[in-house]
Symmetry: C2
Subunit: 286 residues, 2 copies
Amino acid sequence: MKWINYHNVLVVGLGLIGGSYAKSLKRLGYHIMAVDSNPESIQFALENKIIDEGAAENIEELVSKADCVILALYPSIAKDWVEKYQQYFKPGLPMTDVTGVKSSVVYGIQEILREDVEFISAHPMAGREVSGVKNSDDRIFRNANYIVVPTDKNTDEGISWCENLGRILGFDRISILTPEEHDNMIAYVSQLTHCIAVALMTSNDNDHLAEYTGDSFRDLTRIANINENMWTELFFMNKEPLLENMDMFINEFKRIRDMIEKEDSEGLKEKMRLSTKRRAKFDKNK
Amino acid sequence: MKWINYHNVLVVGLGLIGGSYAKSLKRLGYHIMAVDSNPESIQFALENKIIDEGAAENIEELVSKADCVILALYPSIAKDWVEKYQQYFKPGLPMTDVTGVKSSVVYGIQEILREDVEFISAHPMAGREVSGVKNSDDRIFRNANYIVVPTDKNTDEGISWCENLGRILGFDRISILTPEEHDNMIAYVSQLTHCIAVALMTSNDNDHLAEYTGDSFRDLTRIANINENMWTELFFMNKEPLLENMDMFINEFKRIRDMIEKEDSEGLKEKMRLSTKRRAKFDKNK
């Protein structure tokens, strides 16, 4: 499944990530078609040559021209879209997505999918604190992770097509995880950190402290600037692994709190040494 | 108390911050003297022309030459140093410090201080994740906050001397807070965030997740790389405000956790909107 054979790419949902996929693939010479329920997004993308063709309604014709499909919708509506429009898909078409949670999305779509098309799920771990096609930027894929999340319904050919997409988009690291592995990982490295940043901002009526802030607080709360509709949906759709990680964090935070209360110097230093050692492995250049 | 009248500056404790003060003031033409219990730090600073004179022992002569003193010691030993060496201070000498906690330090030093010298406390809110004079760098003061923390023992002249020091070091914003205001502020914007970063790193046996990490996790845990001796001391010396802020954070984090469990969509979105709104005020350019 060489990528070169999929000339007409259909991007479904033209937000920040859909728009960034479109920009990147158009630069590589693909014919980019996009559908989005918001006509302004389509118009903006056409005017700015982010896409070649687009439509906000009567999208059947565009769908039927697609050689492959990239679902860049909110996870809650992805399945409905597939149910409604898969009748127009070309036979053999490969489809992928960009959703940040997997178990609750992938199995459902694969269950209702036509037998002659293949859905290979992927998570491009890139983003910005702003949303919408106007803020799309294909440089966000550089130095970022791309995770292919196959199930036993996927073929080697489909998985390799999906990996290649990540490669041509410019991602640095491409990995393969099961939906469950993915969801546990994302609960920890992304969702938990967003919950922490929000709680830190809302735990204190802190506006008056802004002028005293240093870089560490600013870094830690950058992601407290959050798209509430998308993240609420992502949290609920990954509830079990997220709650498990939140509880793990609360327990650990309380242990550290109690060490401070009791002035357990050795215990606290041991935590700090462990944290320093682990953190070193997370540096980009390691 | 014009700064120009204080030619011989004595830096007590030549670590990251002491060394950065030395570099900055030497560049401005002051005669920089330093004392540190570690002879290697003194030797490094002399060889690299960070200081003009230095000593690790028999420091009385240097102390007696000082026109002003900058205490850059760990907070737990600052008072002992003053008690031992203030007999060599010139009459009228102004002294400041760089300590990150105030109530537990300032009052104690002012209590035992000679009547004819003045201690005006200050907190340069700048740092790096590395320590020692070898890593000192006077550029860390740019875009940073400098807080003067006077008590009723301080004179207008002394406060203005201390503010001027912050100005010539190159700090962006200079503020005045009481020791109690300072300690509450620092418990929230600095100490709480360090506790969170450490707990996040140590709550999960997470080494295998490093390769999937995005920038948000990396930003949030940058400060999990922590000098355990200094921070343990700072936490214990600011225990009451820190525990108060930790408890506030735990309660808020649990509220958010429960909203996710109950799928309270409106409640959670309200938290995210508040967090986004507040976070905007913390951006550097606002």
